[in-house]
């Protein structure tokens, strides 16, 4: 059976996550399978969205890519992460330090807690530049000012000497983006970069990320729970649920023809500005406890289509058509499924 990381017919992926398993030992002696066999890839200069609710494993996947999982209690139980044909899981921490901030960098949700309050923002940007490039302090400062200008901070030569507390939330997030892009990374991972911001500031930051991406040429992995942001920004989307990838699709396909019942449920559950709904459809129940994952398909207790097979057997991630991957027994391509019939009936 074809696996999702093999589907790149034309372009070699920049990064592939293959069947990644990131587990945590819990204090009670159990094992929490935060990410349990997730596969995805991202191509150069692509904008890939990862959506999912809390506990879906989307942030853990990102942290695993950068090897930022604290160990213990966390550990890799299987799978691999390949970046430019090299396994990141095989690298030492010293080698990882040369990759972080240079080839792969990250923007976090909380700009205040990810900036050091005791240093000026200029110093913190320069630190990254001087670590990865052979430049003098003055050149680094110049570069830091340029980056602040690039992210649209007014009078950057002055603001470069500001401390984080002297800036607003939106400005701090701009600084984070400037820092992340200062060494022209090939991949920028943005973990909920606008969730802590107001909606008018969110629009500014999203525009900024897209504009600077064009100038710097990075690929972006955008982790979010906001389907509106995904629809506007991303080219391809990975949907995660309870530590697994349940669907991968191009953005139009995902929103117009969601293949997994969870994606379908999410899309119909959100109140929308562009249409009026008398009553919201709901996804019943709640997200499973990661220490006690349901047998079979992890979504089955909340799924309206669940049958006997879903309760006992885990569906594999298969590709019913090019570019689309889905982990559901109903999807066409899975033997014994009725999805084909349903699809024809719909058409």
């Amino acid at each position: 059976m074809k696996q999702p990381h093999d589907i790149l017919e034309h372009v070699t992926p920049l990064l592939s996550v293959k069947n990644l398993k990131t587990y945590f030992r819990s204090e009670e002696g159990g094992v929490i399978k935060a990410v349990d066999g997730a596969s995805l890839h991202i191509r150069p200069k692509e904008i890939l969205g990862i959506v999912g609710e809390s506990g879906s494993g989307k942030s853990i996947t990102a942290m695993s890519i950068l090897r930022l999982i604290p160990s213990p209690p966390g550990y890799f139980a299987g799978g691999d992460i390949v970046f430019e044909n090299e396994s990141l899981l095989a690298k030492t921490q010293k080698e990882m330090r040369l990759i972080r901030g240079k080839d792969i960098s990250m923007v976090f949700q909380e700009p205040m807690s990810s900036l050091n309050p005791a240093y000026t923002v200029g110093y913190q940007i320069m630190e990254n530049i001087m670590l990865h490039q052979k430049v003098s302090k003055n050149q680094a400062l110049e570069h830091a000012v340029d980056m602040l200008k690039l992210v649209g901070i007014p009078s950057p030569e002055k603001r470069v000497h500001d401390y984080p507390f002297q800036m607003s939330g939106g400005m701090r997030q701009r600084v984070m983006v400037a820092m992340a892009l200062s060494c022209q990374p090939k991949l920028l991972i943005a973990d909920e970069p606008t969730t802590a911001l107001d909606v008018t500031i969110q629009a500014q930051i999203l525009r900024l990320i897209l504009d600077t991406k064009d100038k710097v040429g990075s690929a972006i992995m955008l982790i979010t729970h906001d389907l509106g942001v995904v629809a506007e920004v991303c080219q391809r989307v990975v949907v995660m649920y309870a530590g697994k990838v349940v669907e991968v699709a191009y953005v139009n396909e995902l929103f117009n023809h969601p293949a997994h019942p969870y994606t379908e449920g999410l899309l119909s559950a959100i109140p929308r500005l562009d249409e009026t709904r008398d009553r919201l459809t709901i996804v019943p129940g709640s997200i499973p406890n990661p220490a006690r994952m349901p047998e079979g398909c992890r979504f089955h207790p909340r799924c309206q289509y669940a049958d006997e097979r879903c309760r006992t057997e885990q569906p594999p991630l298969v590709s019913p058509k090019p570019g689309q991957w889905v982990s559901c027994w109903r999807a066409s391509g899975v033997e014994g499924s009725e999805a084909d019939v349903a699809a024809t009936a719909e058409a």
Binding site: R207, N252, G265, A269, L280
Partner: protein
Amino acid sequence: MKQMSLPLQKLKSETELILEVKNLTKHFPITKGFLGRQVGVVHAVENVSFNISKGETLGLVGESGCGKSTTGRMILRLIEPTSGDINFCGKRINNLRSEEMRRLRKEMQIVFQDPMASLNPRMTVGDLIAEPMQIHGIDKGTPKEQIVKKLLEAVGLRPNHIYSFPRELSGGQRQRIGIARALSVKPKLIVADEPVSALDVSIRSQIINLLEDLQQEFDLTYLFIAHDMSVVKHISDRVGVMYLGKLVELAPKSLLFARPQHPYTQALLSAIPIPSPGAKKDHIILEGDVPNPINPPSGCRFHTRCCYVMDRCRQEEPELREREGSHFAACHLD
């Protein structure tokens, strides 16, 4: 019987005001040093006026720091207003003494954003829900357990949750407990302060539907405070938009979302990403940040970020005035 009485109730609700807020203002003092010398004020809410009719849902939206939560809390007098009037069911409540106010609070309840922070972790769900009834001495005759189980059922939980602790519940279930607590004293008005923003997308719609059902069943009036315009659009009858302590627009929801009048509302609506990939639109991107409420801009408070700004806006503060059928906006533009 219930169905018969419904149309009558509706007719009545159109006229009966449950809450009238007039020129509500809150200035928080900024103090300095050991003696608490006052060095300035935060203009958190400034001259906000609106009404809510019985059975209605008024949505109050705005970005962080716009004063929407302060407004909600002043209505319950959890924060004392600096000036202005609050009339609840025709009675001015600003000067009520604490004993009278406590009695009135069973008519007006609040649901908070963070269900974990607002529930005592050492109390069982049963005790948590029974607590407001004990305080207000409601239904003294009937056994508490019976009422609590009924309330649990009303908010979509199982009766055996009565013995659970908050930590054993999920975020959505905790929010249901918060709602059951508010309901237990049979209030007329519920101030819901960001009740769904801490919840996951799939849980959010469950709680929104629940709030709508309860409104029907218990004949409730809501002041629904949120920053998410799509949620507010779904649940509200009328919507008020706040910016930097001022109410800048107030209109029935259909008018507000179809023809927003205030430039801030227009920008706010256009900034929201639409979950439909084809619908790329031209965002109005506001420059800069919200100004500091310690020293708000002169004239119209939005003039520093407004793309239609005129000289008049810098000097003269626009009044909230009616445009078309009960659509109010505070802007000098026509």
